[in-house]
Amino acid sequence: MKPFDYQRAHDVAQAVATVAAEPGAVFLGGGTNLVDHLKLGITAPELLVDVTRLHLDEVEELGDGGVRIGAGVRNSDLAAHPLIRQRYPVLSEALLAGASGQLRNAATTGGNLLQRTRCVYFQDTTTPCNKREPGSGCSALGGYTRHHAIFGASEHCSATHPSDMAVAMLMLDAVVEVQGATGPRRVALADLHRLPGDRPQDDTILEHGDLITAVELPAAPIARRSRYRKVRDRASYAFALVSVAAAVEVADGRITEARLALGGVAHKPWRAERAESALRGAVADDEAFAAAAEAELARARPLEGNAVKLPLLRGAITAVLRDLCEEDSR
């Protein structure tokens, strides 16, 4: 393992300046992904800048009913926070569906958003991977693709984003606060992650040195009754085959508003806009749920090894919408 330096940052500006000035520097949050990468040889930074002492660990209530989450808030703390559980249960459920208790205790909000794909070829330095080594080729094409994308992949990469939390946040129209070398800015979560295109090495639009400092959740009365449904290959402690974050409003048996985001299906958390459109105004029944799923699945491009994600997504969307609507009618 290559020797590296470690620094503990004490303020945001200093942390950003340090990393921005050093091409071989990276931020260290909970370390639940980066440390794996160091051991696997996926990355070999010169300098780790620890950002867990920046006091970015508050969950604040905003005046308009929204919530601002510091980037350093641990996943466990966020999942258990009363404001999150009351106003955004989908987020609490998503967090608790991810990883294990020990990992959630360590993982941070900012780090969770920036975790990298678990594609087996990305993690295996003995095989080509365009994301790890641009231009080397994609081993997933013609390989083991059970966990790979059905939406928005390219010939260069079909990896999926592994986060559960980000799927719920996308459904909640979250906004990410970023501190860069030239100052702070706000980025819609929907714009943070990218599709792979011909640059799969770039998971997000962030520049080197950019530090996520907070995530803001706008007020969303619809989210008070929201659900996260994750389907995986075992009952716990596994990445999603597919997941669904959903919220609906129903009046007189008809869906008046619907929000739907999907996980495990693309290089980024996937907003199911076509399904949302199909649901608005529809009678809240299984037929409409399945039709909404079909509307989204029309643009799916499964690989040889992950065709099961189509019926699975149809089933998961139907199940979660049925649960929400049944609850609504009670």
Binding site: M1, K2, P3, G41, R118, V120, Y121, Q123, D124, T126, T127, S139, G142, G143, Y144, V231, D233, R234, A235, S236, Y237, A238, F239, L241, A307, V308, P311, L312, G315, A316, T318, A319
Partner: protein
């Protein structure tokens, strides 16, 4: 279950004597021994699957501060592997599988060893490789003595009222004990001391002595505590040999090697995938006229290992016509090895699902179908069974599970969005008795010291061997102190094949009796006696453990997720020496059976030639949330025909039949018949009813 807790008598539920030390972290495992100035070993593994090493460039690695040596085939000590071709590590430029060690770095710190290993350059000549297992391969071969034919299976199939003829598959699986393999090797110029994580102290001792041409008294192997093995720590694999080679390169320095979790998927064996064509022929009453199991499995090109999945079908059910065959493909992979119930685990999946298919086809209850095919003697060997207790296990299991009320119709029960079904299967495992164990009893300071080179891989040997000695000596268990896990103790057979307790037990019983005969009931301090145990089972009998497993399975009607909320196993494994440790073994086996049913699958990418699911995020093993109510019961039936202890092995039978019971319950829940493991959401979402 008996309430007696601490009497320690054989048969009583004595708590593990090693438990407190393990909980406190004071029980030392191989890697944990404090060493003066240790060195650390890090491996360089081939990134090709077949070919030759043209050159090893070690300059950059040697320049790393703290590096003591870089080993490769160009400079490693020559050894004599004989037939143990898997152990011919760094002995030639040949590459036989991807991930094979082609070099290794010894350094003063693990970090330096790791950094330097990444700097070792290896040039290869690359040859074409082939890792694809298929029953259609034209180069399959029949290993010696693995086929049996009785009567005429084809004719029986042609004449039968009902036949079942399907191909079933089980995937490649990897042993993953909690503690990966680990070694500390110290070579002082004349002798070799090994702290080794092994199921078989003596096997390591004799194999290493033989490989390195050392007298046996110049090798010592120490392994008092072992964090599981499941078979992968029985026969030796490459890592321990590498540690010895490294120790010889740096005499006087202990060399530490801890196999990483990822390396568990390349270096220490695996369960071969199996393809089994199972054929059953029956009359309208369900009486079998023929049983066939044609097994295709894989082995390495450089050695031969047979996953004998056909074995249980030789003795399980009565039928005059029988055909059991094994065919192997020699592939460019590392060698398969033992994994909990080798042979029986896959071999009690395919035929037990086929029996369920036959029960459905004939509309006969699956328990009743099996009862109608109970043999009077072993149908393969025609020997009497030492005891045959399958019927009792099935009846007791039916009673405890509530089987009698079961509606056989598949795919008709639904609860809260889940399809609900139940299924059963039989279990069996041979009652093996290994020759060659000795034990010594010494009387010192008012206590009896039991000395035997046995291994406790987490099963409870530390506890039950003391119980057996106390019983044979006629003293309380507190008067016995147990010494195991060291090659300087009297030699003992391995902890494998569910044979440890009974094989060692015969030696312990013999030693205790001889001690009493020699020294009486009031021995003088220092009195000692050594005796040999049984030299094998009574060949006049066919000796097996039996069991019956019952599973309830729920399948989500929208997503196809599979859950096993209830699992019951009723076993008959002779005399139960300690109900606490026995229950742990049964439940552990059943849990691993659920894991086999639903999860475990090593995915090989044939283009590269290696397993790409090399961590626990991708190679799934059941977690707590996957296991619902799990219950193991037993019928305590001492079997003194099987061996003089009356006990039979319990370590492996729990995994046999579990996956079939789950698959059969899955069919009952959904109407979808599963013939391929593992059973994932795909089975329901992509499967066809019928």
């Amino acid at each position: 279950m008996t309430q007696a807790i601490a009497t320690g008598d054989a048969g009583s539920a004595m708590r593990r004597v090693d438990g407190p030390d393990k909980v406190r972290g004071t029980a030392r495992y191989a890697f944990e021994y404090p060493m003066k100035e240790p060195a650390y070993l890090h491996l360089v593994q081939s990134t090709i699957t077949r070919g030759r090493v043209r050159a090893v460039h070690d300059g950059a690695a040697l320049a790393v501060q703290g590096v003591l040596a870089v080993l490769s085939h160009t400079n490693a000590t020559r050894i004599d592997p004989g037939d143990e071709t898997e152990l011919a590590v760094l002995q030639s430029d040949g590459v036989a599988y991807r991930g094979q060690p082609v070099a290794a770095v010894v350094a003063k710190t693990p970090e330096a060893a790791r950094e330097a290993a990444a700097l070792v350059g290896v040039d290869y000549d690359v040859y074409q490789h082939d890792v694809h297992l298929s029953a259609a391969r034209t180069d399959l071969f029949a290993p010696d003595d693995t086929d049996t034919h009785q009567g005429d299976l084809e004719a029986a199939m042609a004449e039968a009222d009902t036949v079942i003829d399907h191909v079933y598959s089980t995937p490649m699986q990897h042993n993953n004990p909690m503690e990966p393999h680990a070694t500390i090797a110290l070579w002082d110029g004349t002798s070799l001391i090994l702290h080794e994580s092994t199921q078989a102290v003596r096997m390591v001792h004799t194999t290493i002595a033989s490989l390195f041409g050392l007298e046996r008294d110049r090798v010592r192997v120490i392994a008092p505590y072992v964090g599981g093995g499941f078979g992968a720590k029985g026969p030796l694999h490459a890592p321990v040999v590498l540690a010895c080679l490294a120790a010889m390169a740096v005499p006087g320095r202990p060399v530490k090697l801890a196999v990483t979790r990822r390396q568990m998927f390349t270096l220490v064996g695996y369960r071969s995938p199996t393809l089994q064509r199972v054929r059953l022929a029956a009359d309208a009453q369900g009486r079998l006229s023929a049983v066939g199991d044609d097994v295709t499995a894989q082995s390495a090109r450089f050695t031969q290992f047979v996953e004998r999945a056909g074995d249980p079908s030789r003795m399980m059910y009565a039928a005059p016509n029988r055909r059991i065959t094994h065919r192997l493909a020699a592939l460019d992979t590392n060698a398969p090895t033992w994994m909990r119930a080798p042979g029986e685990a896959p071999g009690m999946f395919a035929p037990e699902v086929a029996m369920d298919e036959l029960a459905c086809a004939l509309d006969i209850d699956p328990v009743e179908l099996r009862l109608r095919n109970e043999p009077e003697v072993d149908p393969g060997t025609h020997k009497p069974f030492s005891s045959r207790t399958l019927a009792e296990c099935m009846r007791e299991g039916s009673r405890l599970f509530g089987w009698a009320d079961r509606d056989p119709a598949p795919g008709v029960r639904r609860h809260d969005g889940w399809l609900v079904g139940t299924g059963m299967a039989a279990s069996t495992y041979p009652a093996l008795l290994m020759p060659g164990s000795s034990a010594e009893i010494r009387f010192e300071k008012g206590r009896y010291e039991l000395r035997i080179g046995a291994s406790d891989i987490g099963t409870g040997a530390w506890t039950v061997l003391g119980q057996l000695a106390a019983e044979a000596l006629g003293v309380g268990v507190d008067a016995v102190r147990v010494h195991i896990g060291d090659s300087t103790l009297p030699a003992a057979s391995l902890a494998g094949g569910s044979s440890g307790t009974v094989s060692w037990g015969t030696a312990i019983t013999a030693a205790a009796r001889a001690f009493r005969e020699e020294h009486g009931d009031t021995p003088a301090p220092g009195a000692r006696t050594t005796a040999r145990g049984s030299d094998g089972a009574d060949e006049n009998y066919s000796a097996h453990s039996f069991g019956a497993q019952f599973a309830e399975v729920h399948v989500h009607a929208d997503t196809g997720e599979v859950r096993v909320p209830r699992l019951l196993g009723v076993f008959s494994a002779g005399r139960i020496i300690n109900p606490l440790t026995a229950r742990s073994q049964f439940i552990g086996g059943m849990t691993m059976g659920v894991s086999m049913a639903l999860h475990e699958h090593s995915v090989v990418d044939p283009r590269f030639g290696h397993v790409v699911t090399q961590d626990f995020a991708d190679y799934h093993i059941s977690v707590n949330a996957d296991i619902g109510e799990i219950r193991a019961e037993w019928i305590d039936t001492p079997d003194y025909r099987a061996n003089p202890t009356g006990a039979k092995g319990i370590g492996e039978i729990g995994i046999t039949g579990t996956a079939a019971a789950v698959a059969n319950a899955f069919h009952h829940a959904t109407g979808v018949r599963v013939r391929d493991l593992p059973i994932t959401v795909d089975a329901y979402l992509l499967g066809s009813r019928g």
